[in-house]
């Protein structure tokens, strides 16, 4: 009996600690935070998101994003804050702009060329 009470208490406490790291007013905000941190690259350990990484810089960036969300900053503001400092590379899904034009358009161009090539071939026959 006593072990059972202890066990339940342990679960209860660990639950409290698990929630306490980045406190938000609502569950929805917390989910938003998780989603946003999963879009940000940990520049130290380049193939991890800052949500996954335990690198000190990832921790600092999570804290910063948490603070910015609490200050009612929008996603766009937070992302541009990060990009201004660390570059486009910090976002796993780069924004569509002059720098990333080729990156975004290349697949469509390639598909277009292939379609043109084959349609030209077919009409020849």
């Amino acid at each position: 009996m006593r072990t059972w009470v202890g066990f339940l208490l342990l679960i209860w406490f660990s639950n409290i600690w698990a929630q306490d790291i980045y406190p938000f007013a609502s569950n929805q905000d917390a989910k938003h935070f998780t989603a946003l941190t999963q879009e940000v690259r940990c520049v130290v350990c380049q193939n991890q998101t800052i949500a996954d990484s335990n690198a000190p810089l990832a921790l600092d960036l999570r804290k910063k994003i948490h603070a910015m969300l609490l200050a009612n900053k929008t996603d766009a503001e937070i992302k541009s804050y990060l990009v201004e400092r660390y570059g486009e590379f910090i976002l796993f899904q780069p924004a569509f702009n002059k720098l990333t034009l080729i990156l975004w358009l290349f697949p469509f161009l390639a598909i277009g060329i292939i379609i043109l090539y084959f349609s030209a071939k077919l009409t020849k026959r």
Binding site: V44, Q46, D60, E84, R85, Y86, G87, E88
Partner: protein, 180 residues
């Protein structure tokens, strides 16, 4: 002949792709990210100093460039390897060097500078890494080259050794008006 070309095209494309991937895999300097701050003014900062009679170190305290601003820490191994080179840069090339301590212990910094010498005009204590975040620092040591207009013109990630100094930083400083 015409058919041969058509059959060989996919292989040629594959070969080019593999060559590109191999190049990126073995030769690209993927750890060295380009800073988006290049060409922009140095962001303002306000830090308590370490090892100085002056209390506060801010961007207004910098002499007219070109100069070096390095972000480092006593717990960082490459910073230890770099230190003698910084001393040499100050003594032989008379480049003004400033520093920002990233998340460090003030006492350890004092002991370090007493034992190894202090190449810095001023050192600021960035306790929680806020200034480093404004500078987009992702690994110590990082060294910024600042010009006379107080704009960032270059960032070097990692330690400065003789090669980096001679091939990159020194020519860049000279080009930006470093008096010999």
């Amino acid at each position: 002949m015409h058919k041969k070309i058509i059959y060989l095209t996919p292989f040629a494309i594959l070969f080019l792709l593999l060559a590109l991937l191999a190049y990126e895999l073995f030769y690209s300097d993927y750890k060295n990210l380009e800073s988006p701050l290049i060409g922009k003014p140095l962001p303002p900062f306000h830090l308590e100093t370490i090892f100085s009679e002056k209390k506060i170190f801010s961007e207004k305290d910098l002499v007219k460039g070109p100069l070096l601003l390095t972000v480092w820490a006593t717990w960082c191994y490459s910073c230890e390897l770099e230190h003698d080179m910084l001393m040499k840069i100050r003594d032989q090339y008379h480049v003004p060097i400033y520093s920002i301590l990233y998340k460090d212990d003030v006492n350890k910094v004092k002991v370090w500078l007493l034992n190894k010498g202090n190449p810095f005009i001023l050192s600021g204590n960035d306790k929680n890494g806020d200034t480093a975040m404004d500078l987009g620092v992702y690994g110590t040591p990082e060294t910024f080259v600042i010009n006379a207009q107080q704009k960032i013109i270059y960032r070097h990630v990692g330690m400065i050794d003789q090669t980096v100094w001679e091939k990159t930083l020194y020519p860049l400083l000279q080009k930006n008006g470093l008096s010999a």
